[in-house]
Symmetry: C2
Subunit: 198 residues, 2 copies
DNA sequence: AACAATAATACGACCGGTTGTCTTAAGTTG
DNA sequence: CAACTTAAGACAACCGGTCGTATTATTGTT
């Protein structure tokens, strides 16, 4: 098969995996379900990936990419200061989650909980995905520190870690409360209060 | 079978379920594995629970109970102020997680991510478990507010929500980093800084 | 108190369906 | 036609759940 089509199939497999793994979890989603969704025969799966586990590890990377790009876009916006960029970014995330009906939440958080301790390959993949994301968040906070809108008595990396942790927890709460209120409160508490200069 | 023995069997089923569901997730743990562990035949399972889903919902309640008791014990300690009680409590949790080798993490967080959006029965059970826990945490923070160690310009319920969210996120990080550092930083950031009077 | 009739429970074999993976053969390409 | 890629279906293992039966407990009748 032409390598271009093969790439396309792989891409489809990955983005369909993002959706299904996020909503139903790793063990809750069978290969058959994924393959049916992208109309690829079951026997072909192992031409694209060496195992379900390695597939999931790639899905993780494929998942985080758009978020990195979206966050970076806000941070690069020359009309926005760092703190406003972060607020806008999380605001966009919240409306997206509302429109999606609070389904799924965050693939990273869900998989960390489900298989973060049992699958070594996915653990590694989750590590790098989270680190990449958090590093970018820290860069945004550092920028805000230089602009004088965020307190400087705490390292930006530290605050970035707290922000991602609280955000993950808020996403879990969102899922069982079926409400965006936890997300809003989380952003407000940190970005409008805790991180502010005083 | 004598009802006393039946109760014992059910208890064993529940506590074994806590362990297995926490480490391997809902879909990652088969009924057979649980039943083998407590030496109860397959056919008997449905004499104790009406389905795997309802079983998991009861496991959730069985899981949270000891944490409520442990936290309450610290808060009731007349020699401790509220803030110190909270710090001691989370300190105990951290050493317990270290001794367990960072396995599992929190059953509530894991299940919220995995099936919080797909299983209605478990969603309900998770809601009440989290609320009970968070209410107790808020009571401790309120006590600390009255004692003058915690800021009063924020509602205790608000801070309790932030604390549980950040703690959940820190547990996920712990799992993939295999380190208690995220937990320690989480407690320090909130209990030693953000929540303090200023 | 002894026994029979009946109800309740415990149990392992078994259900249809699905899992992730592998073998094998057909198809594609240079 | 040789070398390689793709796909179809087979594969054993396992899933959650059911069922008929064997065992135990309870009740009713002498």
């Amino acid at each position: 098969m032409a390598t271009a089509i093969k790439q396309l199939n792989k891409e489809n497999l990955l983005s369909q995996g993002v959706q299904l793994l996020m909503e139903q979890g790793y063990h809750g989603t069978g290969l058959k379900e994924i393959l049916d969704a992208v109309k690829i025969p079951k026997g072909s799966f192992y031409n694209y990936f060496s195992s379900k586990e390695n597939y999931a590890a790639e899905v993780i990377q494929h998942y985080i990419e758009p978020f990195i790009i979206q966050l970076d876009k806000h941070l690069q916006n020359p009309e926005l200061d760092g703190l406003s960029a972060l607020k806008n970014y999380f605001g966009e995330l919240i409306t997206a989650l509302e429109n999606a009906g609070f389904k799924g939440g965050c693939l990273l958080g869900n998989l960390m909980g489900e298989i973060g301790g049992t699958s070594e390959a996915c653990q590694k993949s989750l590590q790098t995905a989270v680190h990449r994301y958090q590093r970018l968040l820290a860069a945004g906070l550092k920028k805000a520190q230089n602009e004088g809108t965020v307190r400087i008595d705490k390292p930006a990396e530290n605050m970035a870690a707290l922000l991602t942790n609280a955000w993950q927890g808020a996403l879990l709460r969102m899922k069982i409360e079926q409400s965006s209120e936890p997300l809003k409160q989380c952003c407000h508490d940190l970005l409008d209060d805790y991180f502010k200069v005083r």
